[in-house]
């Protein structure tokens, strides 16, 4: 079969430049075959080739092997993209992969990139992301991505091959006990030695990954199991559920607890809602809005709760925690009731637990009972998912007249004006003529109408994005919150772009994180995945440098980070690239990147020594924020 183009980077670049004038949305985004480099093919040609290929391969006479059972199972689960890298023991899969053009196979350049891409795909689409690697190093390379998904409750199925059954436990070539490694960092994992087990295991894995509190599930399959002939049938959903008697997530909050919670809400004078990732996962954005509006309670959010409420909504109050807004942390510290929905009182949210929210009673709703009472003591625990709990609570609470909250709301507004008016916010003029990072992320938000998917890396860039971009759509913000995985942005954005192809996808990374996974530039180019990358380059590991300045007396060991010419680097991969060093160049380069059909990179050379303020030093409380240049006395 012939697709229209090879994966020659030069041709990708050429086409990108040629198409740059045309409308960015015009390019077909239909699912394409597993053949890389088909970026410029028209939808019709792709469809025709796909049909021809289907006809050709499906008429081929051969036995059904374990690898076929795997592909059938993935298709049955609705998988349309597989992020993967081949290797010795998973070659049986690659041998039949071409027979399944329903699945678009993306050849990543490193397994970690594949795992993050599956993660980003899942967060942007709400579907289960799927990545795959071979045994040994292929599997261990997936580990960082699996752990990232675990800490952030992202539905993912990671598949690895393992050595033949007879070699298991013999320290064979590329053998490692990968299920032993992933056991503590997955929701569940499997070692499959028999092809007949594949259909049931895959169905169970998808069910576990996407139900209850989501998370990654790992399936390790021996080469024998992939190659054996099998007639095993795919189980029904009922069979899957019956096989999991220990897995019965509670969705509905207990009526007695909901009543108690409603009573607390009625009695509170300074209530505050804390919205977490659970609101987005449970698709409870509308329920959150309805509850907040009926009770006239302002909403604060965690890092992963960003997007749970439109930031333009009058009751949207802001981002909390270590680098959250001062006014939000202040509201928490003076609240008399916190209504925490689908969040887990992480240490980056609470700081020192001893001094956290000293005047507040706490209602804590989470689908995972183990999260309740784990980090802070709460007055009203509710086990259930955000959608059901918020729906139930809204029915029970009385409508509140906005006038009764006038004083409280006015005080919060005053605090907000005070903290947003601080000199470091959005000035874009930080130190004469130098480019300010907060200005850059704010402009990216503005020029994309706040409708794109914005994928953060980790560190200062992540905090700037969270604070200044302004998020207006659920799931428009993707960030490695729990594990804090540098190198996340570019590969996760790659996944997000295919997970939600109807909007622009932006990766915002520092120069440090970007260099950890920059090999995926080739994947973006070869598969023509339209990610716009903003590298915020301060020639530093910025957050490390900030801590060294404030906490380690300016001992800047290993935080200065000389980097390459990022424009030349991108161009070497065939990706159009732009550079900005001044405030007045920012809008032009963003627009230029948007006009590119396909991936593009912008190198923002920002001020070298810009800090993210306010900052709560580790171990301190939410009231101990450092707000200005230079550290107060310890």
């Amino acid at each position: 079969m012939t697709m229209t183009r090879g994966d020659d980077p030069a041709s990708v670049a050429g086409s990108a430049t040629a198409d740059a004038a045309g409308p960015a949305q015009a390019r077909p985004r239909d699912r394409r075959s597993h053949v890389p480099g088909d970026g410029s093919a028209t939808a019709a040609a792709v469809e025709q080739a796909r049909k021809a290929m289907l006809h050709e391969v499906r008429s081929r006479k051969r036995t059904r092997i374990g690898a076929d059972a795997l592909m059938e199972a993935l298709i049955a689960q609705g998988t349309d993209v597989l992020w993967s890298y081949p290797g010795g023991v998973i070659l049986p899969i690659y041998d039949i992969l071409g027979d399944y053009p329903e699945i678009r196979h993306i050849l990543v350049r490193h397994e970690q990139g594949g795992a993050h891409a599956a993660d980003g795909y899942a967060r942007a689409s709400g579907k289960v992301g799927v990545c795959m690697g071979t045994s040994g190093p292929g599997a261990t390379n997936l580990v960082t991505g699996i752990a990232t998904a675990q800490l952030d409750s992202v539905p993912m199925v990671a598949i690895t091959g393992n050595v033949p059954n007879a070699l298991i436990g013999k320290d064979a070539f590329q053998e490692i006990d990968i299920t032993g490694i992933t056991l503590p960092m997955t929701k569940h994992n499997y070692l499959v030695r028999n092809a007949d087990d594949i259909p049931h295991v895959v169905a169970e894995a998808f069910y576990l990954a996407s139900h209850g509190r989501p998370g990654p599930v790992h399936i390790d399959i021996t080469k024998d199991a992939l190659q054996q002939e099998t007639t095993a049938e795919h189980p029904s959903l009922d069979d899957v559920i019956a096989g999991l008697p220990g897995f019965r997530p509670t969705l509905e909050g207990h009526p007695k607890q909901l009543k108690l919670a409603a009573k607390e809400v009625a009695a509170a004078q300074r209530p505050l809602i804390l919205a977490g990732h659970g609101v987005l996962i449970a698709d409870a954005v509308d329920e959150l809005k309805a509850f907040a509006e009926k009770t006239q309670i302002p909403v604060a959010w965690t890092l992963l709760g960003i997007g749970a409420m439109d930031e333009e909504h009058p009751l949207a109050y802001g981002y909390m925690g270590m680098h959250g807004w001062k006014h939000v942390n202040r509201a928490i510290q003076s609240a008399d009731l916190l209504i925490a929905i689908g969040m887990r009182f992480d240490d980056r949210v609470t700081g020192s637990v001893r001094t956290y929210a000293p005047y507040a009673r706490i209602i804590h709703a989470d689908i995972d009972p183990a999260e309740i009472g784990k980090n802070v003591a709460v007055e009203v625990p509710i086990v259930g998912d955000a959608k059901h709990v918020l729906g139930g609570l809204t029915r029970l609470v009385h409508e509140v007249d906005p006038a009764t909250r006038a004083d409280y709301v006015a005080e919060l507004a005053e605090w907000r004006a005070d903290s947003e008016g601080s000199s470091w916010h959005g000035s874009g003029a930080w130190k004469d003529g130098l480019l300010s990072a907060d200005f850059v992320v704010e402009r990216i938000g503005e020029l994309t109408n706040h409708t794109a998917t914005y994928v953060a890396d980790v560190g200062q860039n992540q905090m700037w994005l969270a604070r200044y971009t302004k998020f207006r759509r659920p799931n428009s913000h993707v960030s490695s919150g729990g594990l804090g995985t540098m190198g996340f942005a570019v590969p996760a954005a790659m996944g997000a772009a295919l997970g939600n192809p109807d909007v622009e996808t932006w990766a915002i990374a520092g120069d440090g994180g970007f260099q950890m996974t920059s090999q995926e530039l080739m994947t973006l180019a070869a598969d023509h995945i339209p990610v716009k990358i903003a590298v915020l380059d301060n020639h530093k590991l910025g957050m490390i440098r900030q801590w060294q300045e404030i906490i380690y007396a300016g001992n800047y060991h290993s935080s200065h980070l000389p980097g390459p010419d990022f424009v030349k680097l991108a161009e070497a991969y065939g990706i159009p690239a732009f550079r900005a060093t001044k405030t007045d160049e920012v809008d032009a380069v963003i627009r230029a990147a948007q006009a590119v059909d396909g991936p593009a990179l912008i190198w923002f050379e920002i001020a070298e020594e810009q800090n993210v303020f306010p900052m709560m030093p580790a171990g301190k409380g939410l009231s101990d924020l450092i707000e200005t240049w230079g550290a107060p006395e310890e």
Partner: protein
């Protein structure tokens, strides 16, 4: 820097709140006690590893662990003893429930239970003091299951505390080898943890 919540003037005390702020730390007693957890699990590969790994990762110290089949097909039972305060142990139980293979976790510490543990103790005993050793063992309702010229093997069963007491007495004769199964427990009366399972 002060850790007073009102530092920096950030947090005006809400006027209507008259009671002192509650402690936000976890309310556990802080006093570690011995707890006995009965854990019913699906008998699937790796389940022991999952339970052990979770307890290690969450910093719970297992004192003893006894595992066996039950009368129900595919279901195994673990009896786990550990030290911790009430909140810590409750958290351990909740974490165990996150394991897909775990069906039931019950803290039976406060319940009326039959608790038994089996111990084999190889004690130095020769013609001079063998009779003495046997007398002690009889007092504890144990038995001698092997005799050689220089040693005997004592089989003893009872609660952990009873076995601790016997072992302490035998120590003065010289213990050559000691093995204990760890506690196994069952609720007294007609109630059944297994039957309560809804499968």
């Amino acid at each position: 820097m002060s850790t007073d919540p009102t530092a920096n003037g950030n947090d005006p005390h809400p006027a209507h709140v008259t009671t002192p702020p509650p402690s936000r730390s976890l309310p556990g007693s802080g006093e570690a006690h011995r707890h006995i957890l009965v854990v019913l699990v699906l008998d699937r590969p790796g389940v022991l590893n999952r339970v052990a790994s979770l307890m290690r990762a969450r910093s719970f110290n297992i004192d003893s662990l006894a595992v066996s089949r039950t009368d129900k097909e595919h279901i195994s039972r673990m009896t786990l003893t550990l030290h911790g305060d009430d909140v810590a142990v409750e958290q351990a139980a909740k974490q165990l429930y996150r394991l897909v293979d775990v069906l039931k976790v019950q803290d039976v510490t406060e319940d009326q239970v039959v608790e038994h543990e089996l111990a084999l103790v190889k004690v130095r005993a020769s013609d001079g003091n063998r009779a003495e050793v046997i007398k002690i063992v009889e007092l504890y309702k144990g038995s001698i299951v092997d005799i050689s010229a220089e040693s005997v093997i004592v089989e003893a069963h009872g609660t952990e505390a009873e076995i601790d007491a016997l072992v302490a007495l035998l120590r003065s004769y010289g213990i050559k080898e000691l093995v204990r199964t760890g506690a196994t427990v069952m609720l007294r009366g007609a109630g059944s943890i297994e039957e309560a399972l809804k499968l």
